[in-house]
């Protein structure tokens, strides 16, 4: 399988002189096409910094990130925008839909920004919305939909452009467990049927247990990697919990 994401010895240092914070301290990570990888870790372990660096919102201090053959450090502002809209899809914790647009328009906007031919936009929007189970909400405004529907709409917006890599930052963070399960189910379907590569940051063990592989971060470094392999979701969940407990009491909130 080809490599979609290759992160090598990534460092990100905030501050100067004596008061430096090493948010990332030499992280190396690689994702193959079609993988669904979770990143876990306590607060301050560097999860969000890693995601921000990969999503080009933040620039690393050293190290390299290669996405789909593009070395991020070599892109300028305009190329970065192009890179973001063509290769990346985002799902945020607070779904971040535009409140003035209907669900359908929110999804279509991603295609408009990509300059997709106008004729095929409604069809593609419909297709992805059906896949995520929000086909009947396309004409609703975000505030008319439930939190789960909003988050699936955000997922549809991220996926509709067929990005090389989907970055999800705590997508279930603001959802109740039923909506969270529905969203994760759909992400798995997208991963399996469309072959989408997903990198998801979470600190919820249940959410992480639907990934094929989980990377644990601590103090800006990779602490451990866990492969799901052939095991079922329940035993993978148990494994994750074990690692979390091993990492320290910081994540007591997972239970």
């Amino acid at each position: 399988m080809e490599e979609i994401l290759q992160v090598t010895d990534l460092k990100r240092v905030y501050g100067k002189g004596g008061a430096v914070t090493r948010a990332l301290n030499g992280v190396s990570l690689s994702l193959k096409a079609g993988e669904f990888v979770g990143v876990m870790g306590p607060s301050g372990s560097g999860k969000t910094t890693l995601l921000n660096c990969i999503s080009t919102l933040d620039r690393p201090t050293s190290g390299s990130i290669v996405v789909d053959g593009h070395k991020l450090s070599q892109l300028n502002g305009k190329q970065l925008a192009k890179f973001r809209r063509e290769r990346l899809g985002f799902i945020f914790q607070d779904c971040n839909l535009l409140d003035t647009l209907t669900a359908g328009e929110n999804i279509a906007l991603a295609l408009s920004i990509l300059k997709a031919p106008a004729g095929e936009i409604p069809g593609r929007v419909w297709e992805i919305a059906e896949l995520l189970g929000i086909g009947d909400c396309l004409n609703k405004y975000p505030y008319q939909m439930s939190g789960g529907q909003q988050q699936r709409c955000a997922a549809a917006r991220a996926m509709v452009t067929h990005p090389s890599l989907v970055l999800a930052d705590e997508p279930t963070g603001a959802l109740d467990s039923k909506s969270a399960r529905l969203l994760l189910e759909r992400l798995e379907v997208l991963n399996r049927d469309l072959g989408a590569t997903i990198l998801m940051v979470t600190h919820d063990a249940f959410t992480a247990s639907c990934c094929g592989r989980v990377v644990f971060l601590r103090d800006g470094q990779i602490f451990l990697e866990l492969e799901r392999g052939g095991s079922d979701r329940r035993s993978f969940f148990q494994n994750i919990i074990r690692v979390v407990t091993e990492m320290g009491g910081e994540m007591a909130d997972v239970f």
Partner: protein, 615 residues
């Protein structure tokens, strides 16, 4: 410490204060300029000659200034309210940190003071320059040479008036912001940003219905105005009130529904709808309609007033101007109304009194009007008769050809300029020899000065006043007419421009503030667009398009209203004289472009910067 914090706050939030500052400065400049007209160009010329129009103009300017000050005060309070709303969180933080409400009020007090002082200074400086411009404009309107009247002047009286009015306005603003702070609750200040805006969903079909209703209302109002004409439509209340109501309702409905209608229209055209950020821009517009349509209607009406008043005052001014040559073909005209009792030899009378007509006058001519006897001339309906040789002499002096046509002839339709000042006679032209059969009724003596016009006129008037002659009270001079004209011209132009500018300023500032407050709300949306990969250029363009929609739509509708209004007004003014509508439209357009365009640019730039600065 407070003054330091206040100055730092003002400097840091200059972006927010920019439009506020601009509005204050323009307001001060406008106020000073028009209160300083006494010492300016043509007004100074009139004031030196103690012309009665001067005191009338100054009185009207004073009355209008009160009105303008009230409008500006409302505008400044509105702007201040907008600023305070944007700073709710900051003020909440001060309170949270333990400052008392008194101290926060004091801080705002100082900030308003700093802004007020700076804008007063800048406005007065700008006002001195604007006075110079206005002087040049008024001087250029008159044919009299007034070189040397132009120069930079500073009117202490006007500056004092400006300081007083704006000092009061700032005090009012300070009191209001103090009250607002002491009344607000900390929890509201801190959580002000978390309150979501409730979006109302509107049916697009309903929009279309409203738009059609709006267009029909406007059409009915326009039809009323054009059918009845300006004079009747404005003066007769049973026609005037429904017409204005229809016009306002139509404007309101159009602003309320236009975005929905356009949305429906564009949605049917995927190539346009899905292009770049079009759907985002359109939705932004649509979502703001229920908060902006009232303001847009008000702005549209203010713009209409500004355009209408400016254009009519300039147009009226040109009408008066075109009447001036008609009334004053010669430097002086004296009439002897009792020609049937005795005929006067004007030159001899003057020479005997010590006024040398040969040396001081370039040209003079005495024309005699006779009683018209229909049995002799064969023409009725005219009270006087004039010999064709006199007639030709008066015409030749003006560079016009001699009369060639049948004689005798009724001269009503010739509409000639034979005297300075009005003649008040209808006459027939007769062959010279026919005059022997008629008896004289009136002698009309006209002359042009040779040397310096003002000196000669003073001298000849002194001479005549010292004599006891019947024609002494029937003298009209070109200078007198010009001064009278100048008075009415300045009155129309100054007051028109004053009000027009005030309305324009108010309209532009209201729009600018509204757009800026929306741009602040939009910052998060732009950040999201950027995360989705939208290019900087597209985001900035969308921000500009939204500002442009807000500024250009009221302008477009106001222009349409004023075209119809000016058409009706022209028909009215045309009965008095022809309005030079091209020139007046050009001046109006220039004024509009400068002020409104300036606000549009400032707002668009600020909004673009706000869209950009949220990374």
């Amino acid at each position: 410490m407070f003054s330091k914090l206040a100055i730092r706050n003002v400097r840091r939030s200059f972006r927010d204060y920019g439009i506020y500052f601009l509005t204050l400065t323009f307001g001060v400049c406008l106020f000073y300029t028009f209160n300083a007209i006494e010492g300016q160009g043509a007004m100074a010329y009139l004031a030196q000659r103690e012309h009665p129009a001067v005191s009338a103009i100054m009185m009207l300017v004073d009355i209008f200034s009160v009105f303008v000050a009230v409008v500006l005060a409302c505008l400044i309070l509105y702007a201040n309210r907008f600023l305070l709303r944007r700073r709710k969180r900051e003020l909440g933080t001060y309170l949270l940190l333990g400052l008392s409400q008194m101290q926060v009020s004091k801080l705002l007090f100082l900030e308003t003071g700093v802004i007020g002082l700076v804008s007063l200074g800048a406005g007065l400086a700008l006002g001195v320059l604007a006075s110079l411009g206005l002087s040049a404009l008024t001087l250029s309107m008159f044919q009299i040479d007034m070189a040397g009247m132009l120069g930079l002047t500073f009117s202490v009286k006007a500056a004092g008036k400006t300081l007083l009015s704006f000092g009061l306005i700032f005090l009012l603003v300070m009191v209001f912001s103090g009250i607002r702070v002491s009344r607000s609750r900390l929890i509201d200040l801190i959580y002000s940003q978390r309150k979501n805006e409730v979006l109302k969903v509107r049916s697009l079909t309903w929009s279309a219905v409203q738009l059609v209703a709006g267009v029909l209302c406007l059409a009915a109002a326009y039809a009323t105005l054009l059918t009845f004409g300006m004079a009747i439509a404005v003066a007769v209340l049973p026609i005037c009130i429904p017409m204005l109501a229809l016009g306002t309702a139509g404007t309101l409905l159009i602003f309320r529904s236009l975005s929905g209608f356009v949305m429906k229209f564009v949605q049917g055209r995927p190539n346009l709808y899905y292009r770049e950020l079009n759907l985002f821009t359109l939705r932004q517009w649509l979502s703001k309609v229920h908060t902006t349509y009232l303001a847009q209607t008000v702005v549209c009406i203010l713009l209409l007033l500004a355009i209408g008043i400016t254009a009519s005052s300039v147009g009226l001014n040109n009408t008066i101007a075109s009447n001036s040559g008609y009334q004053a073909p010669f430097d002086i005209t004296a009439q002897n109304l009792s020609g049937d009792e005795e005929l006067v030899d004007f030159e001899r009378v003057l020479n005997e009194a010590g006024f040398d007509t040969k040396e001081k006058l370039a040209w003079s001519c005495t024309a005699v009007f006779y009683y018209n006897d229909p049995q002799v001339t064969g023409l009725e309906n005219a009270s006087a008769a004039l010999r064709v040789s006199d007639y030709d002499a008066l015409r030749l002096r003006q560079g016009k050809p001699a009369y060639s046509g049948p004689l005798p002839c009724k001269a009503d339709n010739l509409n000639e300029e034979l005297t300075t000042g009005s003649l008040g006679l209808s006459y027939v032209l007769i062959p010279d020899e026919m005059a022997q059969q008629l008896s004289p009724s009136r002698q009309v003596w006209s002359a042009d000065y040779l040397a310096d016009k003002e000196e000669t006129e003073a001298e000849i008037m002194d001479t005549i006043r010292s004599l006891d002659v019947p024609f002494a009270s029937w003298i009209t001079t070109r200078l007198n007419i010009y001064q009278d004209l100048m008075g009415s011209k300045i009155l129309a132009l100054f007051l028109g421009l004053y009000l027009g500018f005030t309305f324009l300023l108010a309209a532009a500032a209201v729009l600018a503030l509204q757009q800026l407050s929306q741009a602040a709300d939009n910052a998060g949306r732009y950040a999201l667009l950027r995360k989705l990969g939208a290019e900087e250029k597209l985001v900035a363009r969308s921000a500009t398009q939204q500002v442009a929609l807000a500024f250009l739509l009221p302008l477009a509708l106001a222009l349409l209203h004023s075209v119809v209004g000016m058409k009706a007004a022209n028909d009215l003014i045309a009965t008095a004289g022809k309005v030079d509508s091209v020139a007046s439209s050009a001046v109006t357009a220039l004024v509009l472009v400068v002020v409104y365009g300036g606000y549009f640019l400032a707002t668009a730039l600020a909004c673009r910067r706000m869209a950009k600065s949220t990374q």
